[in-house]
C-alpha cells in the first residue's frame, strides 16, 4: 500500500526528551477545539482527548528507573487505516497538506474507523456536549461543536490553517507556501518546553524537515505501514524502542516488510 503524497505535508516532530508530561497540550487542544468537559469523566476510556499524553517507563527499579511522556495526536497517516473503511466517506485524506479530515454531519457513528486505528486517535461522542455555565463565552468561534453519536479526532487545528492562509492572502503572499511558524496547532503553540515542532515536512525551510530526518527520530508502529505524519525523537534508546513492537520485544522477526 502506497502512502498518499501531497506537495505539502503538515507534520509534527515531538521531542520526547523535552516533554515533561505537563498536559498543557491536552488542555490547549480541548479549548481550541471546543471539547466539552464530561459530566462524569471517571471512565477514561470514554473521555475525549484528541491529544493524549501517554506515560512510558523503562520498567527498571531505582535508581535506574526512568519515565518519559508521549503526546499522541492523530498521526494523519499517509496510508490511513481509518479512511478506506468509512462506509459513508465521513473521513478523507484528499486535501493539500495531508490532514485526515472528519466530516461530522456525515458521520453515522458506526465506529469502524475507531476499530481500524491502532493509535486510538479517534473518539466517539458518547453524549451531547454540555458546557458549564459561562464557559460558552470562551468557545472558539471558528470550531464547530459536535453532536452525540459521531466520531471526532485531531485535525491539526484545521481552522488555524485556514486562518493562516487567509492572513497570508491578505498580505499578498502565497497561501500554498506558508512560512515556518505561520500555521501552528494549539498544542504546538502552547507547549512550554517547545517539545512539539510543527511544519511542512517537505519544505526545507521548515524546522520539521530536518528534525524528521534526525537519527533519533522515529514513528510509532512504523512496520504496520501506515506512514504517520507525526514523528517522535529521543536520545534515549529505550524510548525509541518503545516506538514499535519488534524493537520493544527485541524480536525483530522477519525482514520482509509488509507490502
Amino acid at each position: 500500500m502506497k502512502a498518499k503524497e501531497f506537495n505539502i505535508k503538515w507534520g509534527m516532530v515531538i521531542d520526547l526528551d523535552k516533554c515533561t508530561g505537563c498536559g498543557a497540550c491536552m488542555t490547549a487542544c480541548q479549548v481550541e477545539n471546543n471539547i466539552a468537559p464530561m459530566v462524569d469523566s471517571s471512565n477514561k476510556l470514554r473521555t475525549l482527548s484528541w491529544m493524549l499524553v501517554f506515560e512510558m517507563s523503562n520498567k527498571k527499579p531505582c535508581p535506574d528507573a526512568e519515565i518519559a511522556y508521549l503526546p499522541r495526536p492523530c498521526m494523519q497517516c499517509g496510508n490511513p487505516a481509518c479512511v478506506p473503511v468509512c462506509p459513508v466517506v465521513a473521513t478523507d485524506k484528499n486535501e493539500e497538506g495531508g490532514i485526515v479530515s472528519q466530516i461530522y454531519p456525515r458521520c453515522i457513528g458506526c465506529r469502524y474507523c475507531m476499530a481500524a486505528c491502532p493509535y486510538h486517535a479517534r473518539y466517539f461522542n458518547w453524549e451531547d456536549p454540555i458546557f458549564p455555565k459561562g464557559m460558552e463565552k470562551a468557545l472558539s468561534p471558528s470550531t464547530s461543536t459536535r453532536p452525540r453519536g459521531v466520531v471526532e479526532k485531531c485535525n491539526f487545528c484545521h481552522t488555524r490553517l485556514q486562518n493562516a492562509k487567509d492572513k497570508v492572502r491578505m498580505e499578498g503572499g502565497n497561501p500554498e507556501a506558508l512560512p515556518d511558524g505561520a500555521y501552528m496547532p494549539a498544542c504546538s503553540e502552547v507547549c512550554p518546553t517547545g517539545a512539539i515542532t510543527f511544519g511542512d515536512l517537505k519544505n526545507p525551510e521548515h524546522k520539521v524537515h530536518e528534525l524528521a530526518k534526525s537519527e533519533n527520530a522515529f514513528r510509532l508502529l512504523e512496520k504496520l505501514g501506515l506512514a504517520p505524519q507525526v514523528y517522535y525523537m529521543s536520545k534515549r534508546e529505550w524510548v525509541r524502542k518503545l516506538g514499535d513492537n519488534y524493537a520493544a520485544t527485541g524480536k525483530p522477526g522477519a525482514e520482509k516488510k509488509h507490502s
Partner: protein, 409 residues
Amino acid sequence: MDRALFPEGLERCSFGKFALWMGFITAFFLFGLYAMLLIFAKGIVVTGLDNYFGFGLWITFDLAVIALGAGAFFTGFLKYILKIDQLKNIINLTVIVGFICYSGAMLVLTMDIGQPIRAWFGYWHPNVHSMLTEVIFCITCYCLVLVIEFVPLVLEQKQLNKIPFLHHLAHNMHVNMALFAGIGAFLSTFHQGSLGGMYGVLIGRPYAFREGFFIWPWTFFLFVLSAVGCGPIFTVLCCTFMEKLTGRKLVDFKTKALMGKIAGTMLTVYIFFKILDTWAWANNYLPSVGMTFDQMFYGVIYGKWLMFTEIILCGVVPAIMLITPSIRNNPTLLYTAGILDCIGITLNRYLFTVQAIAIPLMPFDNWQFYAPNWAEWATSGMIVAYGFLVMSLSYRYLPVFPQEKMLNK
C-alpha cells in the same frame, strides 16, 4: 379457539398454553424493547462500549447470527439450483431462521450506530472502497429476498390460501423461487465475505489483517466458508429444539443427517484453510509487522485457549464428527457436533471483533477489558425473543414442515 387457523390436519397445543408461552417470551422482548428505547433516547452511552471497544457484543451478535442464518441461502442454493430435493423437508425452516437472523441483525445495527437517523447515509453517500458499504447494501437486499421467500409460506396459511388471488400469488412465487434463491445465494455469499473482509482489511489490527486475492483478504473467503459450514446445522438444531418443545416430530432424521453432512463438508473445507491461514499469519505476517503470536493473547479472558477452542475443539472435532457417517447418523452425536460447530463459529466472530481491538499495539499501552452491560444483553435478548415469537407463530399457523403429518401419525 384458533383451531381454524392451524395448518391442514395438524394438532397444536391449546390457545391458553400458547398464550402463556407467548406471554413468557414477550416479557423478555419488552425488557429488551425498554433497553432499545432507552438507547435511542439517551444514545449508546447507556451501553458498556467505550473508545477502545467501539465494537462489542452487538457486532459479535450480528456477525454470529448472520453466519448461523446462512442455512437459508445455502440450503436454498442446494435445493433450487443444485436440485437436492430432499431438502424440501427443511427449506421453509431455513428461510424463517434466516429471516429472523437477518432482520434481527439489521435492528441491532440501527441501535449500534451513534446516529440512527443517518442510517440511510450508507446508501446515499456510499464509499465504494469500504467493505461495510457492501455489507449494508447486501444485507438489506438479502433481507428483502428473505421476505420474498417467506411471503409464499405466509400466504399458504389455511385461511389465506382460500382466497384465490393469494393462492395463485403464492403458487407463482413458488414457481419462480429458484430465481430468488439464486439472487439470495449471490448476495449472501458477498456479504458473508464482506463481513470477513471488514476485518481482513484492517491494516492497523494485526490480529485481523490478512493479505488475499485481488481486493479480497483471505478472511473474505474464510467467512463465507465458515458461514455455510455452520448455517445448515444451526437450522437442524433449531428444528430439534422445536421438536423437544412441542413433543412432535417435524423433520425426519435422514434430512437432518443430510444437513449435517452438508455442514460437515463445508466445515472441513473451512477448517483446513483456517488452519493454513492461521499458520501463515502466525509465522509470516505477524513477524513481518514486528509482532509475535504471544503478543496477540493475554491472561485468561484473552488467552490462547480461545483460539485453540475455536479451531480444534469447535472446529476440527465437529468437522470430523460431521463427515464421519457412523457418528453423524447418531442423533446425540450429530447434535453435539452441531452445537460445537456453532460455538466455534460464534467464537471466531467474537475473536475477530473483540480480541482484535483489545490488543494494545503501542508497546506502552495496556490491555483493556470490555464487559457488555445489561442494555447490550437485554437488546440482544430482545432479538432472540423476537425470533422465538416469529417462530412460534409460524409453527402454530403456517405449514412449515411438510413431513409433520406423516411423521406424527
